[in-house]
């Protein structure tokens, strides 16, 4: 992302944040209508966590097909960002839950789902730390990601059947209860955070490429060579 893009993203997010406080009306029907504004930040973070999980699974699959080191780096970068947004979603969610339901943690299906996603990411990083050889690490972690993915989809699908949910359902796309300005602000926030996501993702890959270049300078390194060869694609 070039400098203009970064500045625009910054202005955009700052603008949406200001709008969330000054333009957005308090959400009636919540216990503390003023605090409900956090929803416009919370929901995009949660959605991005799931997006990151999907991106990680897709790159894991592509890695197993292509065995290209850069594809593995992409899968890893998606997982790292997924972890970051999972933490943000959990923290903002807990803050709101304190206000709304009186306790920070309620074993609500969506709360549980996101914690399970964090567990999967944690397991993924532990696995990557436990394998020394790079290509083997990439192979095993990709395989693990592709095992965890269907399990998580299952979990997210079955949890609401087992536990009662506190979250409203289907607010994002069709809901008459919430002011339409909420939907606009929320998706604007999402667009801003998505830009941040893409920017951080590319930044992570640049770090990976820089490391490969360093390795190549110190000794002839075929893995680094292959990694760098992928840069132009």
């Amino acid at each position: 992302m070039n400098t203009t893009g970064k500045i625009l993203t910054g202005i955009w997010i700052a603008g949406v944040t200001v709008a969330a406080f000054l333009w957005l009306p308090p959400a009636q029907g919540f216990r503390s209508p003023e605090a409900a504004r956090i929803v416009v930040f919370h929901v995009p973070c949660a959605v991005l966590t799931f997006v990151a999980f999907l991106v990680n699974a897709v790159y894991s699959w592509l890695y197993l097909r292509s065995r290209h080191p850069l594809t593995d780096a992409k899968a890893n970068a998606a997982a790292e960002l997924g972890m970051l947004f999972a933490v943000l979603a959990t923290v903002t969610g807990s803050l709101f839950a304190m206000e709304q339901w009186g306790s920070a943690w309620n074993w609500d299906p969506r709360e549980t789902s996101i914690v399970m996603l964090m567990l999967v990411y944690a397991a993924y990083f532990v696995l990557r730390g436990a394998v020394e050889e790079k290509s083997k690490r990439a192979r095993l972690s990709a395989a693990y990601a592709l095992l965890a993915f269907p399990a998580m989809v299952f979990l997210i699908w079955i949890l609401p059947r087992i536990v009662e949910s506190l979250h409203p359902t289907n607010t994002l796309f069709s809901r008459s209860g919430l002011d339409p300005s909420y939907r606009i602000t929320l998706w604007s926030f999402f667009a801003g955070l998505l830009a941040v996501f893409v920017w951080m993702f590319r930044l992570r890959l640049r770090v990976e490429l820089a490391e490969a270049r360093l390795r190549q300078q110190h000794h002839h390194d075929a893995v680094a060579e292959v990694t760098l060869a992928g840069e132009t694609r």
Partner: protein, 206 residues
């Protein structure tokens, strides 16, 4: 029959370590070949790549039978391999090991056949003893037997004579001679006693 193995520009890299660089060769049945080179030159790695146990970083190994490429399954059915780091099941007896590898390969063998095979390598009397109780030479003979149980067209041997006495070496020599008459043998070695087994195929540097 017309067997051919083609190594096309094989390279293998473990992280920063380049083990094999751009190796090409062709082997046509029948005959015996050797892969030569000092310790650590990548002989075992190359043999494992030929066996399909290891995927090369670049290049490929082609198995051709009458010009047709073999599937992974056909390749498993036509390759037998003996190497120091490929072990038998030590808690199982000689007969149980042999029986497992025969059945796993889908061979309809009876125990009487297997016992006759064991007879050939002077292990008939130890058929019901666990492999853990065997001497190095006995283990090596049993390994060779399990590698030959499906009558493979391609036999791959990694340092087959290491730790063997003269009688053991004679057994290897005989097996190689027999196999080289109808199929392919590739031997990785730096033992001067084994150099005469076949023509040099690849000579690896340190």
């Amino acid at each position: 029959m017309n067997w051919q193995i083609e190594l096309r520009r094989i390279s293998k890299v473990f992280d920063e370590r380049v083990v094999l660089r751009d190796i090409s060769a062709t082997v046509t049945a029948p005959g015996a070949w050797t892969i030569l080179g000092p310790n650590g030159s990548g002989k075992s790695t190359l043999l494992r790549i030929i066996a399909g146990l290891l995927t090369p970083t670049e290049g490929e190994v082609l198995y051709l039978y009458n010009g047709e490429r073999l599937t992974a399954h056909q390749r498993r059915q036509s390759v037998g391999m003996v190497a120091p780091d490929i072990a038998l099941y030590r808690p199982l007896t000689a007969l149980e090991n042999l029986r497992f590898f025969a059945r796993a390969r889908g061979l309809p063998v009876r125990d009487s056949d297997l016992l006759r095979w064991l007879e050939r390598v002077q292990l008939r009397s130890r058929a019901h003893d666990p492999v853990a109780s065997f001497s190095t030479g006995m283990v090596q003979r049993l390994k060779l037997l399990t590698a030959l149980v499906h009558r493979p067209s391609v036999l791959l041997l990694d340092e087959p004579g290491s730790n063997l006495d003269e009688a053991g070496m004679e057994f290897i020599r005989e097996t190689v001679r027999e196999q080289a008459q109808h199929g392919i043998v590739i031997i990785a070695t730096n033992d001067t006693r084994e150099l005469g087994y076949g023509e040099p195929l690849v000579r690896l540097g340190a």
